[in-house]
């Protein structure tokens, strides 16, 4: 059984931010945010035509700054959030210029912000008529509201409530986790509760994920080498895994934890040879795990032993078959630079995209043999 070849799409800019359009369940669609300090940044809407193996792209301008993180609303296809950097420059007079003849110094500052945006309603129709035109005159995102609170520092990422109605988001800013309520069709955002990370030194959230279980009342965050779980109802910490990963720099491992017992990881994968930047479970078959690494590789693993599928009734006849073992399904080497993001499609559970820093987006599928193995 021949598997389809990967489909590759190249962006003009460097990029780190990738997400599937969560609310879209018919078309296979990914959103990519670019990073450029010199040019206007863009959001590429990548449509993948599964039958013809063709990619259609649409470009929206994101003039606010370079995009570090992107998230699509689970309820409204047109709404998305970005975390972006913007640099502010201003001049001021120095009374004592140290060692410099000039009395004016241009000082600039980089701040990270987060905002909710709406895509223009006609982005799709415009593209089909003249695809070349949109590349030259891209449409602009409509700003719905800022998710900024001057008291709470730089935003690292914004998380939508999974499977929610698109009204609640969490933003991680420095050492705060802010839970926002979006009102008036997302044009107004108010902080409903906050949690603060306290401890020695400058603690900073680097990443987080909203747990889809327990009625979406849990949040997991990462700061430095520690992983913390939060209860969103009380905004208090419920568990903490100190030193989850190597203390030195990063290690190259993927660890699977059981939050009921945080002493030891359930499983550890050591397939990558450099840092792992992104790990994603498949939405429907959680034994399939995608890992993206700066060794320029994307690895698809089949972690049967920790799958929630196990023991279910409809899988009883599986026992007759030779049981699948935890294994690496395949390694994708289409990237030539560090892969910072990988995402499963929200429309087709067997399809995923990965994005490397040089702006290369690769769309791959789960090998057919494995797919049938899991399905049948």
């Amino acid at each position: 059984m021949e598997d389809d070849a990967p489909v590759i799409y190249g962006l003009e800019f460097q990029a780190r931010a990738l997400t599937a359009q969560t609310a879209e369940t018919d078309a296979i669609r990914f959103l990519v945010g670019t990073q450029s300090l010199k040019f206007d940044n863009q959001i590429h809407i990548i449509d993948f035509d599964d039958e013809n193996n063709i990619i259609n792209k649409n470009v929206l301008l994101h003039q606010a700054g370079e995009i570090w993180h992107i998230g699509a609303s689970p309820a409204d296809k047109a709404v998305l959030t970005t975390c972006y950097n913007k640099s502010e420059s201003y001049c001021f007079l120095l009374s004592l210029a140290p060692l410099s003849a000039s009395l004016f110094i241009i000082d600039s500052r980089v701040v990270s912000c987060a905002a909710v945006w709406r895509m223009p309603s006609d982005w799709e129709t415009g593209s089909h008529e003249s695809p070349d035109d949109t590349a030259h005159n891209p449409q602009i995102l409509e700003l719905l509201c800022h998710l900024d609170d001057s008291a709470h520092g730089n935003a690292a990422c914004v998380l939508w409530e999974p499977m929610g109605d698109g009204k609640r988001v969490i933003s991680l800013a420095d050492n705060h986790a802010l839970l926002w309520d979006l009102q008036e069709s997302s044009t107004q955002a108010t902080v409903s509760s906050t949690a603060t990370l306290e401890g020695k030194g400058q603690l900073k959230f680097t990443s987080g994920k909203w747990s889809p279980h327990h009625n979406c009342s849990q949040l997991a965050t990462a700061n430095d080498t520690a992983i913390r779980g939060w209860d969103l109802r009380t905004m208090s910490q419920i568990y903490c895994i100190e030193n989850a990963h190597g203390q030195l720099v990063h290690d190259c491992k993927v660890k699977f934890w059981d939050v009921r017992n945080v002493q030891e990881p359930v499983k550890t994968l050591e397939e990558h040879s450099h840092w792992v930047w992104s790990v994603r479970y498949n939405h429907s078959h959680d034994q399939l795990v995608l890992t993206a690494s700066s060794d320029s590789r994307l690895i698809l693993s089949n972690m049967v032993s920790i799958s929630s599928d196990e023991g279910e009734d409809n899988h009883q006849d599986d026992k007759a078959k030779e049981p699948l073992k935890d294994s690496v399904v395949s390694t994708y080497e289409e990237h030539e630079d560090s892969v910072y993001a990988a995402e499963w499609s929200s429309a087709d559970p067997w399809l995923f995209a990965s994005l490397s820093y040089d702006g290369r987006l690769v769309i791959n599928r789960v090998p057919r043999a494995l797919k049938y193995r899991i399905l049948l």
Binding site: L37, S108, V110, Q247, H274, W275, S294, Y357, D358
Partner: protein, 808 residues
Amino acid sequence: MDGEADGTVGMSEDCGPGRRRRVHGMLKLYYGLNEEGKAAEEPESLDPCDINGPHFDPELYLNKLRRECSLAELMDQETCMVKQIRSLDSDMQTLVYENYNKFISATDTIRKMKNDFKKMEDEMDCLSANMAAITEFSASISGTLQDQHTQITKLSGVHTLLRKLQFLFELPARLNKCLELQAYAQAVSSHRRARCVLQQYSHLPSFKGIQDDCHAIMDKLAQELRQKFRDGGSSAKDLSECVELLLQLDEPAEELCDKFLSHARSRLESDLQGLEAEIRPYPSASAVKDASARRLSSTTGAGSLTNNSPKTNTLPSPTSNTDILEFIDRGCNEFVSSLCLVITSYQELFINHAQTGELASKNIPQMANAKLHVFVDDLAARYFSLVERRIQEEKGVGDNSLLVRALDRFHRRLQAVAKLLPGSTVPNKGTEIVIRAATERVKQYLSALQSFYMDSLTDVRQALATPRLSVAGASVAGGGSLLGGPASGRDAPTSLPELLSSLSASILNQIKSVLASVHLFTAKDITFSNKPYFKGEFCSQGVRESLVVSFIKFVCQSSRQFCESAGDKGGSTPPALLLLLSRLCLDYETSTISYILTLTDEQFLVQVQGLIISQMLRKSVETRDWVNTIEPRNVRAVMKRVVEDTTSIDVQVGLLYEEGVRKAHSSDSSKRTFSVYSSSRQQARYAASYTPSAPMDTNLLSNIHKLFSERIDIFSSVEFNKVSVMTGIIKISLKTFLECVRLRTFGRYGLQQIQVDCHYLQMYLWRFVSDENLVHFLLDEIVGSSAHRCLDPAPMEQSVIEVICERG
């Protein structure tokens, strides 16, 4: 114009040598076109001047010729055309003549056929008349013979009936006589012949009487046969006859099988009990040592089978135990051989015989076969469990050959069973036992090796620790670095190589001896070594994977533990030990197995070292506000520190590893000097080839990708030499640097600082690595990435950078 040219060429060629063929072609063309030309025009022949085309217009052609040709040419044309016309005419005549001839001969043939057919018709009529006469005659003959024929048939029927009746009336007497003479076979066959007839006419009193008589007699006979069968003492031939007759008498075959098997079972059980008795009072593993001595004593006892078991029971001393070879021998001679006998006779009786007779229809062979399988499996399982128990007691690591020989014999005898009973699982199970025993043995070796290794490792650690303590006081000042500092570097050379050589030599010896004894398993004269398992899987899986590999894994694991503790506690384990361990791995690689196993381990060492430097670099990048940094004046201290550490690692690694191969440098004249500062001026010249000013444009990355279209693998495997190890460390460090840079945003001076730092690294790092292009590439990437991430990318002058770096 083209058309005309074609035409003239065509005509001039007509006069050439290939003319005849061409003329035919032209004729064909001519006729064809005459037919088709009206209906379908062909585009290529539209030219009216084409003399061969369907649209040829003589008027036009002529005019054209007249217009364009000179007189001489016209004359030539004319003669040529006349010639052509003439040849065409003659061709046409020939064709017409040929056609006429063929027509005439066809008419002749048809006339002749007509005559012949008339003659044939007459003959056929005559034939059919004759046939009718013959049919009539034959019908009359059969009519006259009919009566006589029926009479004869009737008479003969009566005769046979009478014969049968006579046979029936005589039957009881005859059966009795047979019984007396013990001619069972004859009796059974006679009875069988009469049985169904008697059954059919049993409503007539006279027949009923006969039938009852017969039954009585046959019952008696069956009784006698059963008795005979039960006695069992009779010869195999008698037995088979018995069974055959019983089967013919509709005796239930299943019952017979069961009886037969239970009979055999009791005999085999006694054998098994004998064997079991030998295992039971087994003392401890220590008995293996004087196995040979005991063998003599026990062979004498093994002669009498039944008396032996009580004897062993009464003597619980170690000497009463046979060694494993002895044990297996006995098992084979008694149990397996009698099992074989049973199988053969059983098959002879129930399966082969039944297949020939009408019994086959009753599924008896299958039933009997299944029973036999159950029987054999059951007994064999018991036997195997005994054997296994016995093998498990063979705990000692000592002499392996005895075990191997025993297993060999065991396996060989089971082959006989396999031949007798093709579908049986017995030989497979036997092979499994052999395999299990082998893997068990391998495991034992492994644990022995591991404990040996741990012991020797503690020795080494102690040895390392002692000189360390003596210089500890002196090295307080300089030895603070994570890598143990120069102090450990100084005293290491005296002890390390010696320790290494002694450690590796002793471990190597140990492994060699173990491998030698494991090798016995695969010796050529051992039957099971030919099994596919032992050919392939055992060598790779058993020996390589579970023995050597897991030993090495163990070594790796322990070294990894050291590594990790090194990371956590900040260098409580001397890197010297790490080095030593990695070198050890290398030694195994060369002496035993493929290198893939150890590569991962070596890579780990590189990662640990690389991580230390990486962390420094990362912290340096992350903790700084790159946007608002001041104009660079110096190389940052971190970079100096990185170079220093790299140098010290280089020294340490150099103690244990060979130099390794590097790609040609721009110059090799300057060999390494360990002082960074003295060599800096020397090296600067060569480092000048690195020019970071070029990649400042925005398309940098794509340019680089074009230039380096082959992907530089940051994490390619590490080889075992100094250069490769150092390359690995530096690659990891620089990659970390790159990733960190990409996460930041830079101001103008931030970029310039990175430029300076990279240039500085470039000056010193290139000489550690195998391929300086690699360092160039990574540093280019770093500078390029920071330029990309720079708000105001204004690179620093190359000369200024050089000056700053020279200043140090």
